[in-house]
């Protein structure tokens, strides 16, 4: 990927780094993906004969805690980027580590919620509501897992030579952009499923 980095300057270009363009394009496609899921949710819900009230069947306090975890992790990943920009390796480890921990906490809580639902005998096949609930939160959970893997990769990479070069800083920034997106998806999912 760094193949043409050395000769990038003479090219006609937008002035935006390749990686940044790519991550924004990727996020655009992700908007379409989750946009489709939300559209399906609206279509299915408006046509449904009955739809349970979210806060009566789902655990709102746990989800609120999870919302807090995700918003906090969005702050810590920005701090991690700031520390990396300031060449503060220990600070980068601290905040990126915190981001990963918060994401894992989110997944653990989500796992408890899932387990509780299964225990109560609610499965994706139970009703269209649970189908939507498990599918959307499940896909969101996969995105969280992907983000955790990427962030752990960055922490591993920070231990190598050249951790403070432009390419590395770029990747931390792209991880942040992605993470904010995953966060925003949850900000929409939370009210749509739990509160409405």
């Amino acid at each position: 990927m760094s193949a043409h980095a050395a000769v990038a300057a003479p090219y006609e270009n937008t002035g935006v780094p390749d990686g940044k363009l790519a991550i924004w394009l990727f996020l655009a496609s992700e908007v379409m993906l989750f946009g489709t899921l939300f559209t399906s949710y609206i279509v299915l819900r408006t046509a449904a004969a009955s739809w349970p009230v979210g806060w009566e069947v789902l655990n709102v306090p746990l989800a609120t805690l999870n919302t807090f975890f995700l918003i906090a992790s969005s702050v810590t990943i920005v701090m991690a980027h700031a520390k990396a920009s300031a060449r503060d390796k220990a600070g980068f480890y601290r905040f990126m580590g915190l981001t990963v921990l918060l994401s894992l906490a989110f997944l653990v809580v989500k796992g408890f919620e899932y387990g509780h639902k299964f225990h109560e005998g609610h499965f994706p096949s139970t009703s269209i509501f649970y189908a939507v609930y498990f599918t959307t939160t499940g896909l969101h959970g996969l995105h969280i897992i992907g983000g955790v893997a990427w962030n752990l990769g960055l922490m591993w990479w920070a231990g190598r030579d050249g951790w403070d070069d432009r390419l590395f800083l770029g990747r931390v920034e792209y991880a942040g952009l992605y993470w904010h997106f995953v966060d925003i998806v949850w900000i929409f999912l939370f009210p749509a499923l739990y509160l409405l």
Binding site: T36, A47, T126, I128
Partner: protein, 577 residues
């Protein structure tokens, strides 16, 4: 351009897991041509059944398994599998990878003067997701119950109940991911890797067509991915996204599904992808035609900016016409009217594009080379395809024509005599760039005339069969008395299909023979202006020995102040004769 201490790349690095856009382009080219041939073979089996229902297949009938074709006669389930896989393979594994993966990959970086794609390793990954996706799709024939059999559109609830569909969905997820990576790569490359002086308005039409196509792939495929995930959930976990309440299957209540879903939801999500997909199928071939027509008329393309704006407008509008595929689905007539209007609007830029290409011929000293013949054939053939689409876009006429052979005729004129013909043109045109040798002209012309005649022989009768009212989904058309009148036309169509297969032998032979034994050419045999012809054939790793500088637009043919009749984009100034 990896000039860091790098040992000579091994065979695997160079030809299998290559990161060079040219090798990846050729990998796509060969793979997608093989898939096209496979998809074509499948339809030959179907055509035999349609023309001679109930008669055993000659020669290969005995080779098929007894469950698929008892006594050499294709069974109804196997027929449905062939139909679903033919559509899927031709669209997702044939034409799109050929137009975008092969031509886009090879030619786009060359035409903008880039050393490679912006993300070479991601480019390699695109191919290595596409190939397993394709193989997985094919392997579904070997499953118990066989391949998917609900058509390439996979409408539920049928698709949720039928066997084979799970593998179809998994393969589609691989293919969608592949095209997502590819589209990001194409957009970033076009935006950030243009040679100095290659402003956006100096890019060849082909590059523009790939650029617009990449946006369609980027934004239209994710909804299908989401829709496929929902269908997968319906199949594997028995959710009811697409399953209505109280569904009766085979006389029994389908009690595995709780119901409460919307079958129509899938249709909307599917066509939200699949209509932009039509423009993914047609825009790159149009770009190819623009290159070839300008080069062989030796004059600038007519209305360069109009073509580009029309492409952008087409791309945008293609997101708001999808439900014209669903006029008879029972959706609200207000919606039908909306989609009728947008469909009529989208036909305007399509006509503008075609008109620009036709007007480009005016006053040109046309060279009737093999690629030019194919490009010229594209114009009227795509025109027929486009115009026959109008009655399908109008609700009143569509009610009669929907799901008849007329529809099959229409979109095959667009995709086969349109896209595929243009992709053949591109193959003959860029072959000298790929291998430094020219394809044989006589064999090329035999291939051209035979193919053109046979294709029309296949698809023209379908309009008549369709207007007569025959459904496109029948396994045995003769089972209904009112269809018997169209049966001779089915025979014409089937015979033409076998003739078409015969006429592909010259091009297959020509391709491999010319690769090694063809007449050697210099780097610019067509005397073309664009950057892809200003580097060696085949271009070395990194493409350009020296970074080209671009001074002018892409089509400076017959420049009055220049001694030759072509003035390359990277020539500093014209040389007086």
């Amino acid at each position: 351009m990896s000039e860091h201490a790098h040992a000579e790349p091994s065979f695997t690095e160079r030809y299998v897991f290559s990161v060079d856009h040219k090798v990846i382009g050729l990998q796509y080219l060969v793979t997608s041509f093989v898939f096209l041939l496979l998809g074509f073979s499948m339809v030959l089996l179907m055509r035999w059944q349609l023309a001679f229902p109930g008669q055993p297949l000659p020669l290969i009938g005995r080779l098929l398994s007894a469950s698929a074709a008892p006594g050499g006669v294709i069974g109804p389930e196997f027929y449905n599998q062939l139909g679903a896989m033919h559509g899927t393979i031709m669209v997702f594994l044939g034409i799109v990878p050929l137009g975008v993966g092969a031509f886009g990959n090879y030619v786009l970086p060359l035409q903008i003067g880039a050393p490679d794609m912006a993300f070479p390793r991601m480019n390699m990954m695109s191919y290595w997701l596409y190939l397993p996706g394709g193989l997985l799709m094919l392997s579904s024939f070997l499953l118990p119950g066989g391949a998917a059999q609900s058509g390439w559109t996979s409408y539920p609830p049928l698709s949720v109940i039928n066997p084979g569909q799970t593998v179809w969905l998994l393969a589609m997820v691989l293919l969608i991911t592949s095209s997502l990576l590819g589209s990001i790569n194409f957009i970033v490359t076009t935006l950030n890797l243009r040679a100095p002086g290659m402003t956006l308005w100096r890019m060849p039409v082909f590059v523009w067509s790939q650029f617009v196509t990449a946006f369609l792939l980027l934004l239209a495929f994710p909804p299908l991915e989401a829709a496929a995930v929902l269908q997968l959930m319906d199949r594997v976990f028995h959710t009811s996204f697409y399953m209505p309440e109280g569904l009766i299957v085979g006389g029994q209540l389908a009690s595995q599904w709780s119901g409460g879903g919307q079958s129509l939801l899938w249709q909307h999500l599917f066509w939200f992808l699949a209509h932009p997909e039509v423009y993914v199928l047609i825009l790159p071939p149009m770009g190819i035609c623009a290159e070839i027509i300008s080069n062989n008329t030796r004059k600038p393309i007519f209305g360069y900016k109009e073509i580009v704006y029309a492409m952008m407008f087409l791309g945008t509008m293609s997101f708001v016409v999808w439900a014209h595929h669903m006029f008879v689905s029972g959706m609200s007539t207000t919606l039908s009217n909306f989609f009728l209007v947008t469909t009529m609007i989208i036909s305007v830029p399509s006509v503008a594009l075609l008109t620009c290409l036709i007007l480009s011929l005016k006053g040109g000293a046309i060279r009737f080379t093999t690629p030019m013949l194919f490009a010229l054939a594209f114009l009227p053939m795509f025109g027929i395809g486009g115009l026959t689409g109008l009655p399908l876009g109008l609700t009143v006429t569509d009610i009669y024509l929907h799901d008849t052979y007329y529809v099959i005729g229409h979109f095959h004129y667009v995709v086969v005599t349109g896209s595929l013909i243009a992709l053949f043109a591109g193959t003959y045109f860029w072959f000298p760039k790929w291998f430094g040798r020219r394809m044989d002209d006589t064999l090329g012309k035999i291939h051209f005339w035979g193919t053109l005649a046979a294709m029309n022989g296949i698809f023209l009768p379908m309009f008549a069969i369709g207007l007569q009212g025959q459904s496109r989904r029948l396994y045995d058309p003769t089972a209904h008395l009112h269809n018997l009148i169209g049966q001779p036309l089915h025979v014409v169509s089937t015979v033409s299909a076998f003739v078409l297969m015969l006429f592909q032998i010259p091009v297959i032979y020509n391709f491999f023979y010319s690769m090694f034994r063809g007449e050697p050419t210099d780097s610019n045999p067509w005397k073309a202006t664009t950057l892809d012809w200003q580097c060696p054939s085949p271009p070395p790793h990194g493409n350009f020995a020296k970074l080209p500088r671009v001074y002018r637009g892409p089509y400076e043919y017959s420049h009055p102040d220049h001694r030759d009749d072509w003035l390359p984009q990277d020539a500093e100034k014209a040389v007086a004769s």
